[in-house]
Symmetry: C2
């Protein structure tokens, strides 16, 4: 696998970058969130996922209130460097509904 530096990532006009969160153990896509440079720096320093909450406009240390932390195993960037894939070990449920994955609804 190729390597990429944090400084090579591209953030959008609001300084954000999308993050796809995948279960490192079984490959399930767990959730989708946004990050920024500060959240990424903390994610790397702490070994667990820290996002930027667009609704609350603040850092969101996943699991601080729920206990459902996500320790990451690998962080990847896409070919353009403007989307991230985080492969994590999920504690409990990723979804606020209590489902393990946010993607628990099929379009019919």
């Amino acid at each position: 696998m190729e390597h990429v530096e944090l400084d090579d990532l591209l953030f959008d006009d609001e300084g954000l970058i999308p993050v796809i969160v995948q279960d490192a153990d079984n490959g399930d896509v767990l959730m989708f969130a946004w990050s920024n440079r500060e959240a990424l720096d903390r994610t790397i320093a702490e070994g667990r996922m820290v996002y930027w909450s667009r609704s609350r406009q603040e850092l969101w240390r996943k699991g601080d209130s729920s206990g459902h932390t996500q320790h990451w195993e690998q962080l990847r960037a896409d070919c353009d460097g403007d989307v991230l894939l985080a492969r994590v070990h999920q504690e409990g449920a990723a979804c606020h509904t209590g489902e393990r994955s946010c993607f628990h609804r099929a379009i019919s």
Copy 2:
């Protein structure tokens, strides 16, 4: 799995919704793209992924020029209905670089 209708989805201020694309066969996350209501209608009607190209501002029928089509097996929505997960059968490479997945670079 619960079910959700197309009309229940939430599109952003530009009428767009993010799409995470996952290999239905092995669970790999292949790419990330954007859709809108028209692209989604075509995706469902044609059985293959059609996106909205933000750079070209036009519908993007994945594989039309490359042959690397994506026939979807299941379309899911997240808990909030504002992100989609498409589980697809990928023909050839999802990435324009020729890699099967766009997420072939690890952050170091």
